[in-house]
Symmetry: C2
Subunit: 345 residues, 2 copies
């Protein structure tokens, strides 16, 4: 029998990277959630897709686990074992779960990942409490890790940004489409950096810090994660209007129906072309989402969002290239970046 | 003119102690709240009684400031300046404000200190966000303080207890007055230790830790604060049934009308006397609060609560006596203890 030629080791795909990191983090994440009050722990487990209401095991889809992967890869990029980043990974996944839980209450969203949100399933009060518990658990997990003080400072800064971004996002909803009070694309980008970028940056930075990386590496990974977060949000905005519902799992023109002030819309409204005024009227007409999406594209909203997303993707790559990083981890970080931002465009 | 005889320095009264600590902490607390997003900061300031809805200055009564005083006195008791405890004082006041904000949502309470609660004044979603912001600010303040890692660990432990206590409190409401599923006085005491005691203990312990006190002192102050918290809650329970509305600012038999499972009620229901069964029926009859309060007293519920409160007050005193503390601060701590627990009984 002839021996098969030994294949060249292919670089891992993004789903493989995400899976590997999820498997590394899962035992400690499960253990942390298991320390919660049983009732609160059930709500937390439900939000992760691990159980149904009542506690029966479930395999509902959870999140992609990008934040935990960034923390693990951040530690590896700093030259440590991925295990060094696990406490940070657990903390950022808990913070992410907390923010989804509370944001769903604030936004009145009844479903997430095709299941009822926690407040819909358990009630608003219990969902507030479950979010608080996840928040406290995140801080406690990180404070208990070696080198905790600096790590907790990184997390605190991200939490402050997260709240600031959510506040702006809530306030944007009440502002007009046009006139001096309208939301500028720049304000939107800052909001996205706070609401989405800060925790992604924190995840990668936490991994590097817990892995013993020097301040320049921690700062570079923070910048890379933040830029990735903004790029990700911009791509999400494009998909929220023009994405294929079969792929995104969201309704056609969903963001337009919900009258969301997303980047493509705001960029189109900021256009000096006469169509911008017509767009404002269309956006207030529930049946006109086809016409609105076409006009947003015509006014350059889609192109502006994609240009901005590419700019932030390049900034993330530049941040990764600015400091010495372990080769394999850096490659996996770039692979994750491409996967998240390019997606289904 | 004859010189007046120089008076012996009287020990400060509890209100004087509270005022001194409030004045010491106020600048940093104000500064911290000022770092919040302006809209969120207004909700926080409203909750402290510093402004009205819309931001106009106000002098509405805030809380007593017991937690900040314990942190300042904890630092002084450990031999440091009270200033050393200020970061801890700010953190515990922020956590207390956060917990009131979220608890008012969970409990559906429309007023606090004779004003609309934050969720009533600003909406549920914004109030959830304001609570989150206060929580994040508390952690950030403490993480930024020198010696932050140990301090954040103390705060995290208290936060975990706080959430656990609130979870039990919410679940108690759904349990029956009698039968095997009833809430035992012991379960109630544990809930009160988590919900009220943990943060008071944390406040005193944080002060001692930030003041450089040895672990035994930190632990003793934690025990003292926890015991004080339980005693305080038990006295509050007695006042909630038998307190003079002119003094408490709460309606006569308020806790009975709201069918709260407080210690006197649970102790009376646990009595082997035949009246216990009759009490369960009275508690479900809205018009029978006079009869219920008389029967609770007859069944020994009031006496049991006061005995338990005295036991915890003695435990707090014993904890303070178990370690060497700076004399003046220890005296002020005992003075505060008496003031809070004896009150208007």
């Amino acid at each position: 029998m002839n021996a098969l030629p030994s294949p060249v080791q292919a670089p891992p795909s993004a789903p493989e990277v995400l899976d590997r990191c999820r498997e590394l983090v899962r035992p400690e994440l499960t253990e942390a959630v298991g320390r919660l009050h049983p009732w609160v722990g059930e709500m937390a487990a439900y939000s992760f897709g691990w159980c149904e209401v009542g506690g029966a095991p479930s395999v509902a889809p959870g999140g992609k686990g990008v934040r935990q992967a960034l923390a693990v890869l951040g530690a590896e990029a700093a030259g440590a074992s991925g295990r060094a980043g696990v406490a940070g990974a657990v903390a950022v996944e808990l913070v992410h779960a907390f923010s989804l839980l509370h944001d769903d209450i604030m936004d009145g969203d009844p479903t997430r990942r095709r299941r009822p949100t926690v407040w819909k399933a358990y009630g608003t009060g219990p969902a507030v409490l479950a979010g608080d518990a996840l928040f406290a658990l995140a801080v406690g997990t990180l404070a208990a890790a070696p080198g905790g003080a600096g790590a907790v400072r990184l997390l605190s800064a991200a939490l402050a940004d997260l709240v600031r971004g959510q506040a702006d996002d809530l306030l944007f909803a009440a502002r007009p489409w046009t006139g001096p009070e309208r939301v500028s694309p720049r304000e939107y980008r800052t909001m996205a950096e706070h609401k989405t970028g800060a925790l992604l940056g924190c995840a990668a930075a936490l991994g590097a810090a817990l892995g013993g990386g020097p301040p320049a590496t921690v700062a570079a990974l923070d910048r890379a994660g933040r830029a990735l977060g903004v790029a990700f949000q911009l791509v999400d905005d494009v998909l929220g209007i023009w994405g294929d519902p079969a792929v995104t799992g969201k309704p056609v023109h969903g963001d337009l129906r919900e009258r969301k002030k997303t980047f493509p819309v705001l960029a189109a409204l900021a256009s000096p072309a006469p169509g911008a005024r017509r767009l404002a009227a269309l956006l207030d007409s529930p049946g006109e989402t086809d016409a609105a999406s076409a006009l947003i594209e015509e006014l350059g909203g889609r192109a502006a969002a994609l240009t901005e997303a590419r700019r932030h993707t390049a900034a993330a790559r530049a941040a990764l290239a600015a400091v010495p990083l372990a080769t394999g981890a850096a490659e996996e970080l770039r692979c994750l970046l491409d996967h998240l931002v390019v997606r289904d465009l």
